[in-house]
Structures are given as C-alpha cells and as structure tokens.
C-alpha cells in the first residue's frame, strides 16, 4: 500500500523500468504477487482477478479499476477481459462488472471511455434484457449518469452509444440528451425513471444538507410530478416535463480542467450524483472518503490522493452538485411547475403543501431577519395582550367579545399534525416546531421499538427533585430526563463504589494461634489471607467480617444480604435497572443515606470493631450494608 506512490513515480517514468517493481499487493488485491510483463500474462491475470468480482464489493472494483489504470496501455486487453467477463457470468453478477466499466470510464476516462464506447451499447442492451427488474433500475440509473459522465459534461461514451442504449431501453424515444427534440415520443417509463433519478439526487442532497429549503422544495415538486406522471399525462406534457427535468439535472458547466488537486478530496464531486455508490462501489479513487481510508488503510488515502493528483484533469468531475447550482435550478423547477400549472396539468388548489406554499415560506424567511423576529413576535404579542381592554369583573367578562381567535389560531398558523399544537410563522416559531416534531419523532421511534414490552407507572418525583426540576419545554424534555437519569446513575455508581471500598476496609483480627489455619469464607469458599497490620501490630484478615463466630468476606456477605431479598435492595434494583427515559429521578435522597458511615471502624481502633461486630450480631445486619429503607406507609 505504502508503495503506491513509488509505483506512481515509476509509472510516470515510463517505459516501465523494473520488471518487478517493489509493490506487491499494492492494490488491496493481495492475490497476485507476480507482476505481469506481457499482454498475455496480463490478460490471464486480469481475467483471474475479474473472476473475483462476484458482488458489489467496493474494494474489488476499486482494485480492478486502479490496476487497469496502471496498465492503461493495455486498455484493449482490459476491455476485452471485461466484455468477456460480462458475457460469461450469470446475469445476477453482471451489474458489478458494469460498475467497473462505469468507474473505469469515468475516472480513468482515457483510454477506457473510448475503448468501451465501441462495445458498450450492445453489451448494455444485451445485459439489460437478461437481468431482473431491480437490476434494470440500477442500470437505468447508471445510464442516466453517463449522459453527463465525461469530464466536459457530455455523454460519457459519446452521443451515438448513449442514444443507442436509451432507444433500446425506452423504445421509440428518438430524441435524447442535450440534442433531444421535444416533439419526439416520450415514454412514460422513461420520464418516470428520470424523475426517480432526479428525486433521489435531491434527496441525497437534502440528507447532506437538511436545511436546504430549496432542495426540500424541489423534492416536494418532484414527488408531485411523479404522482402526476404515474396517474398519466399527455404526450406533450411528458415531453415538457422531460425537457425541464433534464435542464434541472443538467450540471453547471464542467469545472475547468485546472482543478486544484489539493482541493480535490474535499470537493467530492460525486455524492449527489450516483445513486449506487452508497451501496455498491466507489466509482473513482476520489470516492475514497476520509472515513473509508481511516477505517481500512490510512496510507491508502495518501496514495489515492496522489493518484487523483495525477489524474485530476481527466477525472470526471462534472456531475452536478446540486446545491451549488441551486439558483438556476430554482428558476428551472419553479418555471417547470408554473408551466405545468398553466397547462392545467397540475391544479394549483390540489397541492396544499406544494410549491406555492413553500415558495411563500421561503419569501418570508428571506424578509425576516431571524434573530429579531422572535423577540419582535413576543413583544408584539405582549403589546397586543396589554392593549386588550378587559376589565376583570363579573359583568364585564360576560359582555366583552375579544378577538380570542386571533390569539389562539390566527396568530399561529403552523400546526403540528400529530397533536394539534400551534406555532407561529416566525423563525422562532418554526424552530420551536422543528424541535417539537423532533420530540414526536423520538417518541414515535421509542414507541415502535418498545412495542410489546411491559411498561409501568413511574414513581413520582421526590419533593426536592420536583422543586428543582425546572420546567422544560417539550423538546428538551427527553434531554432533561436522561440527564437527570444519568446523574442518578452516576450517584448510584459512586455510592456503590464507596460502599465497596468501605466493605473492603473492614478486617478481623486473627485470633492468636490461628495464623496458620486455612479459614475459608462460607460464601465464596475462598481462603482468607492474613496480613500484618503495621499500625496495630497484629495479624488481620482483610475484607472480613465475623458473624456468629463465622468469618465472612465483608463483600460476599453484603451481596448475600442484598440477594436475600430485602425490600430496599429490590426497590433499589428497580431504580438501577430503570430504562432510560423513565421520568424518575432517584436523587441522592432516594437512595437510602447510610447512617453508619461515621461509625465505620478505623483501622487502629479495636474497640470500634468489636462494637461493630456486636451491633451486627444484634440485628443481623452490619452498617456497611444499606440500612433498611424506612418505608412508611400511611393509610389514613
């Protein structure tokens, strides 16, 4: 792996100085230690490697693609190998090979795009006939990316093959690509698949940038369009939709070839444009995301970058990053929508949440400066309320007719669809609503996860907690609860650690003459080790406890006591095992305070020990264990 840069160097110093360059297994393909030196052995080698391409493994495709890149002078061999491979393998594993074709053509472009151009159309169509519906969809998606796959933003394999394939897939579609004619016949399935493509592209865009209202807008329009098309529209409209759609998806002019290499990895031109790379393969070395390289091979990123650096001018960087093309896209898409409305395809009234509404929202967003509006809103509300002329008297309140509807309904136009709570149209209101919806989402998710589990009523809060439990708004309720809960857990852990330490500090003085005896703890059956206590100048058993003339480990005994089923223990276990999200905040007070702390025996006071032991004997408990929770029940 780390050899890769060297290999790059070697490569650029063509023609091939070493027969065996020192880079075995440089491609994440550890299979072939022997480096091929002639086309024949290379063919064998590449075919063998191709045979490993049986699923959508990103690593393999990447390896194959880089391998092919290094031997691009034998590009024809690679092409033939791949073609033969595709024709040979069963339909279900043809798709990965096409991804390899795609990756090679896009990332290495020269010479592979040209080489594949001659064979891609029949190969694609043949495969298309054989594969199942799902794979067809993926192939269609890939095909759509080919329209603009070349570094200059043109058809990856040239107009000819592209048109040939599209015509083969979507029959009777004569026009295509940038030169399509609108009056040609457009099939519904084609429009649908292109719509789907655009929609997914936007959705991915939105995922990476959730606050992109433009993209949201687009998505809503596109999904509307899809419904429309599914419902069936006329031929003219189909053509119109298709034209607009292509304009929308069409990239901005391809980035200039002088693309700064250092910027390349961060620019990541791909994410929005490939529908399959998430699940399948990286289509180029530039897709070696930072996460990926960290996870697998830190040095790989390095080499990959160099790889890119050398290849940048030829890389297919032209796929549209829609966010950057947002302004033209807006005009396109809203223009499209308006055109459709005018044409009567989409009725303006049947789209309650459609473009009109969202567009308005956007307008408001623009006009309202975000920070001031919330304050303004609250202030306006206060002024309005104070201006209400309500005399607080029995007679007056029956007579006066306030504009209550304004305060309860009109002032707050946005409503939560789930619980009916309203929010104002302002930025602040929207933010609150967003948080509110998040809360619903969390609750719903929790609900779906916990179906079938037994739930029960929670304990009420203790009075101290209740007093200091500041009212949280609905959105951070969960946060508040969990923090309180985790706090409680921390306290519980600390308590138990402390208790444990105290237990271990207990000791029993070894009776004279018993030093050599092996005395075992009746609970864990382990032998006590006697130690010499320097302070008292006596032999002692550490972590020991004498009850009824038997010596126990203090910790064992405490555990046994707990397990013996005291109410306290069980109740506390109830606390400790609480599920998160239960609004129960056992505070330090809820766990029984340990009254005996102060009396814990100091190592140099034998008296204290004796007294303790006596106490223990008297009530069968020792103060290291939690005292019985005073449960007081009142039944009045």
């Amino acid at each position: 792996m780390s050899m890769y840069p060297q290999q790059q160097q070697a490569f650029s110093q063509a023609p091939f100085p070493h027969a065996y360059p020192p880079h075995q297994s440089s491609y994440a393909l550890p299979s072939s230690p022997v480096y091929p030196i002639d086309p024949v052995s290379f063919r064998c080698d590449y075919t063998a490697r191709l045979a490993g391409l049986t699923d959508n493994s990103r690593l393999i495709i990447q390896g194959l693609s880089m391998y092919a890149h290094d031997f691009s002078r034998w590009g024809d061999v690679v092409t033939q190998c791949i073609e033969a491979h595709i024709r040979r393998v069963p339909p279900e594993i043809k798709l990965p090979a096409f991804y390899l074709v795609d990756a090679l053509s896009k990332n290495v472009f020269d010479p592979y795009a040209g080489l594949f151009a001659s064979i891609v159309a029949p190969l694609f169509l043949e495969t298309y006939q054989q594969v199942d519906q799902q794979t067809r969809g993926k192939m269609e998606e890939m095909l759509l990316t080919w329209r603009t796959g070349a570094p200059n933003g043109r058809e990856l394999f040239g107009v000819g093959p592209q048109v040939a394939i599209e015509r083969g897939i979507w029959p009777s579609n004569s026009g295509q690509g940038s030169s399509h004619s609108t009056n040609a016949f457009v099939s519904k399935s084609q429009v649908l698949s292109e719509l789907e493509f655009a929609l997914r592209q936007k959705e991915r865009n939105l995922q990476s940038n959730p606050f992109d209202t433009v993209a949201q807008n687009h998505i809503s329009i596109l999904s509307q369009l899809r419904k429309l098309v599914e419902a069936g529209v006329s031929q003219d409209e189909l053509a119109q939709i298709l034209a607009q759609l292509r304009a929308l998806v069409r990239p901005t002019p391809a980035p200039p070839p002088a693309f700064a290499p250092t910027k390349y990895p961060s620019a990541l031109p791909y994410p929005p444009s490939f529908t399959y790379h998430q699940t399948v393969v990286p289509t180029s070395a530039s897709l070696v995301h930072p996460q990926y390289s960290q996870a697998h091979a830190p040095t790989y990123a390095n080499s990959a970058q160099q790889f890119q650096a050398s290849e940048t001018p030829r890389l297919a960087v032209s796929n549209p990053v829609v966010a950057s093309t947002a302004p033209p896209a807006i005009t396109n898409i809203s223009g499209l929508f308006e055109a459709l409305v005018k044409a009567g395809v989409v009725s303006a009234t049947s789209t309650p949440t459609g473009a009109g509404a969202t567009a308005q929202v956007q307008d408001e967003n623009r006009t309202l400066p975000p920070s001031e509006s919330s304050v303004e809103d609250a202030r306006a509300y206060r002024t309005a309320i104070l201006a209400e002329d309500v005399k607080f008297s029995s007679a007056e309140i029956s007579r006066h007719r306030p504009n209550i509807v304004h305060y309860l309904y009109d002032r707050m136009a946005v409503q939560c669809k789930q619980c009916g709570l309203r929010f104002s149209e302002t930025t602040q209101g929207k933010k609150t609503m967003q948080e509110h919806l998040d809360m619903h989402f969390r609750q719903n998710r929790k609900a779906s996860q916990s179906v079938g589990r037994g739930h029960s009523r929670s304990w009420f809060l203790g009075v101290e907690d209740w007093i200091h439990d500041l009212p949280y708004s609905s959105d951070d309720k969960d946060a508040g609860l969990s923090s309180r809960l985790s706090n409680a857990k921390t306290i519980a852990t600390a308590e138990s650690a402390k208790r444990d330490a105290e237990l271990r500090a207990r000791f029993v003085v070894v009776p004279p003459g018993d030093e050599a005896k092996h005395i075992t703890c009746p609970i864990c059956k382990e032998v006590f080790k006697s130690e010499f206590n320097e302070d008292d100048e006596e032999w002692i058993w550490k972590n020991a406890l004498k009850i009824d003339d038997k010596i126990y480990h203090a910790t064992c005994h405490a555990e046994a006591l707990v397990n013996s089923g005291s109410l306290t223990a069980r109740l506390r276990q109830g606390f400790a095992g609480s599920r998160s999200g239960t609004p129960d905040a056992p505070s330090s007070r809820a766990t029984p305070p340990r009254s005996g702390k102060a009396e814990s025996p100091s190592p140099n006071s034998k008296l204290g020990i004796k007294r303790k032991v006596e106490v223990d004997n008297s009530d069968g408990q020792y103060d290291g264990s939690p005292p019985l929770k005073k449960v007081i029940l009142a039944s009045a």
Partner: protein, 474 residues
C-alpha cells in the same frame, strides 16, 4: 348546524357553526372517535389536530367547541349528543385574556423590562394565581382545564401550575390524593379516568400531557370533611413547595397557578363544616398566594367571597356552562374504580367498531401498563393510619370527653391483626423524609411527606407476607 348520515349507521358528520359546541355523553362500554374534517375545533381548550381520530371512552362526557366553525366526523353511538350555541366560552376567553395580561406584566417585571404605560401600570404586577370555586357539577375542572390549555397554547412558553385539591378527583393519580403539576402542553380529555392527563410511565408517550410529573400528597378519602385538619395541612405543604419551585424560575412563576377545588369548598350541607370550609379556602389562599378567585355560577358564594376577600384580590363570578352533566354517586364510584385501574394498568380505549374495515384511531401505545407484583414480609413496611378509621364527630362524644386519638396522629397498624383493614386496600408509599437526622424527626412528619407511588395490597395473614402490586418500573 346540520348533520348528514354516512352510509354506515354509526358514522355521522356534524357541521358546527362558529361558537357552538357539540356535546356528547357516553354509556359505559361505549367509545367515540371524533375527527375534524374542516375548520378548527377544541375540547376543553385543547385543539384537535385535523384529520386525526380522537378517542373518547369510559363514560366520557365532553364537548367539542369551535370558534370558527368546523365539520367533524363522529364514529360511535353516544347516549346523548346535541349541539348547543349557548356557551360561556367568551367569558372564559375574557378571563384568559385578563390572566394573560397579568402574566405578561409579571414577566416583564421579573425581567426588569419597562412596563408599557397603562391604567394599572403602577400596581405591582403579580402573576395570576387563581382559585376556582364552585358547587357540585358546575364545571370547575373544565374551567381550570380550559384556562390552562389556553395558557399553554399561546406559544409564549407558559407553564402554569395546575393544582388539584379535590381528593375525589383523581387527577393524575388515584382518588384520595391531592397533587400539583406544571403543564407544558394541552391536556386532552379522552376519559374521565384521566381528566387532567396522566402521570408519567416508563412507556413512551406521544403527548406530553400523558407524562406529567406531579407532586402528590395522600389524603386517603374522597371526602374533605373526613379530616379537614389533615387537608389543611396537606394544602399548606403543597403550597409551600409549589411556591418554592416557582420562585426558582421566573417564567414558571409568571405563568401562575390554577387551583381546582372540591365542591365542598363552595357549599356545605352540614353547618359545622362551614367553619372548616372557610378554613380550607383560607388555607388555599394563603398557601398558593391566591390573587384571583373565580366562582363558577354560585351567586351566594360570590357575595361571600367578595365580602371576605374582595378588598385584597379580584373576585369574579363566571357563568357556568349549560353543558355540565349532573353526576350521580354511582358514576363517581365507577370513575374512581376506573382511575385506580388506570393508575396500575393504564387505560386503553377500544376504538368504536366500524362496520367497514379497520379500526379508527391509533392504538394507544402507552395504554397498557404492567405493574410489578412483589411479595414483602410484614416487617419491612410500616403502616400508619392517620387518625381513627371511623371517627365520631366531636359533637357526638359525651360532654367533657376528649378524643383519645387525635385526628392528625399517625397510628401504627399491625397488618396481621384482623381489623387492620389492609386487605385489598390502596396504600400510598411515602417518600423518605429529607432529613434523616434524629433531631429533626417528629411524630407527625408522615403527614408532610409526599407520595412516591401507590400500592395495592393483597394481604395473606397466614404466611405473614403481603403480595403487593407496586407500580414500579423495573
């Protein structure tokens, strides 16, 4: 108003004119699903979302009110249903605005921002702390609910404190307790068993009004007059804590307090309770620093309150809704039983059957609760009864004789004795006292402890063990 029948007999569509309400009453075992098709509607101040089924059950008696007019679809067969155009909603809205004014003023003053000039600008602004009084079946709880819901709906972040001092009304818990809870989201009215939403469970909830965190004190009887002294003490304890909590948080403080009261505060049949009644109202006024008294439809009480408190605070009579239903004793008992059941097992309202396909409304995910049962030796719980189980009034005692047992005295109970009365009882599990130092312990401290949860007891004397149904998360 008009109705139109669907093809199916138990689905009806009602078109409500503005400012009218659709009232319904349900028979036991029936349930109702209401969906707003058009316009906006609210149930006791809580707005209904569009196109969403709302279920009502367990003999619910409620009303869907609309300010702007709406169309609702009602599935199910209520025993009574009608539309009324006479509602006191304008009066309640006015009260709401007046309270809102107080809140705004109070918040401005807490924040130190200047108050806009007004006729009463010089008065020291106080948040509204409202005591709602009224006779039986006057709709006190509904008024409180509407005022609370309106306050949380205006989007100003108010969290009014709802205090329920009516032990016969279970509120968020079981009957026999009094409780207080800050409200953050509108309270629904699906069933009389949880008229004010319900206390939090370990189950996820859709509505925050179903996961309330109340402060609860245990009184132990549905009737105030059983032990007015205890009630007095509990109210004062509650008030102290409520005020302390609100002092820590200006927004919450500005939102104010709304205190719902038992009907026996308003009227009493026996003359010797009148004194107690006055004492208890006084206790509420002092404890919650009441500055507004609302009297729901009771002229005499209004005059009485005006005379007593009129000089110090606002006393306003508000009209009573014509829709309130006279509730009989059996109904209340059924509701109490249902409330106990709801506390332990949760509540599920079966959606009304539709002749056609699927059930309406979402199944309530948080509906089913599974209480844990536990066997506990007698020695591990100490039972205390406050006062005698059955106490003759002092007037019935021989002249000169004094009670041997004070009403406020906690008496330890021996659960093994036949007269303990613990079998099948509900007992409140009290929280630990804050101070465990012996010097601060006192005999009657149990009266001041709040409730952690409730236990249902199944006592088995033979084995000297209880089987206890504890509401505990595990």
């Amino acid at each position: 108003m008009s109705t139109s029948n669907h093809s199916s007999p138990n689905i009806k569509e009602w078109v409500l004119d503005p400012e009218t309400e659709y009232r319904f009453e349900l028979d036991p075992g029936n349930s109702l699903a209401i969906k707003v098709l058009k316009g906006h509607a609210e149930v006791f101040g809580a707005e209904l979302a569009d196109n969403k089924y709302y279920l009502f059950g367990h003999e619910c008696k409620a009303a869907v009110f609309t300010w702007q007019g709406c169309t609702i679809e009602v599935t199910g067969t209520p025993s009574t249903e009608y539309v009324s155009d006479e509602t006191p909603m304008y009066a309640y809205a006015n009260v709401h605005l007046a309270l809102e004014k107080m809140r705004v003023r109070a918040l401005s003053s807490y924040r130190g921002s200047p108050l806009p000039p007004g006729p009463d600008a010089e008065v020291d602004p106080e948040p509204p702390r409202v005591l709602v009084l009224g006779p039986e079946n006057s709709g006190k709880t509904s008024v409180c609910k509407i005022l609370t819901n309106y306050a949380v709906r205006v989007g100003q972040g108010w969290t009014p404190m709802y205090v329920n001092t009516d032990p016969s009304e279970g509120g968020w818990t079981v009957p026999g307790s009094i409780s207080a809870v800050p409200i953050t989201a509108p309270i629904g009215s699906a069933s009389p068993a949880s008229p004010l939403g319900s206390a939090a469970t370990s189950a996820p909830t859709i509505l925050s009004s179903k996961a309330l965190l109340p402060l609860v004190y245990w009184y132990g009887h549905p009737e105030i007059k059983r032990n007015p002294l205890l009630m007095d003490r509990l109210i004062r304890n509650m008030g102290e804590n409520v005020i302390e909590r609100q002092d820590l948080n200006p927004e919450g403080r500005a939102s104010g307090i709304i205190v719902d009261t038992p009907s026996s505060f308003a009227s009493s049949t026996s003359s010797n309770f009148t004194d107690h009644r006055q004492t208890l109202i006084r206790a509420c006024v002092d404890a919650f620093r009441i500055n507004v008294i609302l009297i729901v439809g009771h002229e005499k009480l209004n005059v009485e309150m005006q005379r007593t408190y009129g000089s110090r605070m606002t006393v306003v009579k508000i009209p009573k809704s014509g829709g309130v239903v006279e509730l009989d004793l059996q109904y209340r008992q059924r509701v109490h039983a249902q409330q106990l059941h709801t506390y332990m097992y949760g509540q599920v309202i079966p959606p009304p059957r539709r002749p056609s396909a699927s059930a309406v409304g979402d199944p309530d995910l948080d509906g089913h609760l599974a209480p844990s049962s536990s066997v506990i030796p007698f020695g591990e719980l100490s039972f205390l009864r406050i006062g005698e189980k059955s106490m003759a009034p002092s007037s019935a005692l021989p002249i000169g004789a004094a009670r041997t047992v004070n009403e406020m005295q906690p008496i330890p109970l021996d659960p093994a004795s036949p007269g303990s009365g613990l079998l099948n009882a509900i007992v409140a599990l009290l929280a630990l006292p804050v101070h465990l130092e012996d010097t601060e312990r006192y005999d009657e401290e149990v009266l001041d402890l709040q409730v952690s949860g409730f236990l249902a007891m199944f006592v088995s004397i033979i084995s000297l063990f209880f089987a206890v149904l504890i509401e505990i998360k595990n």
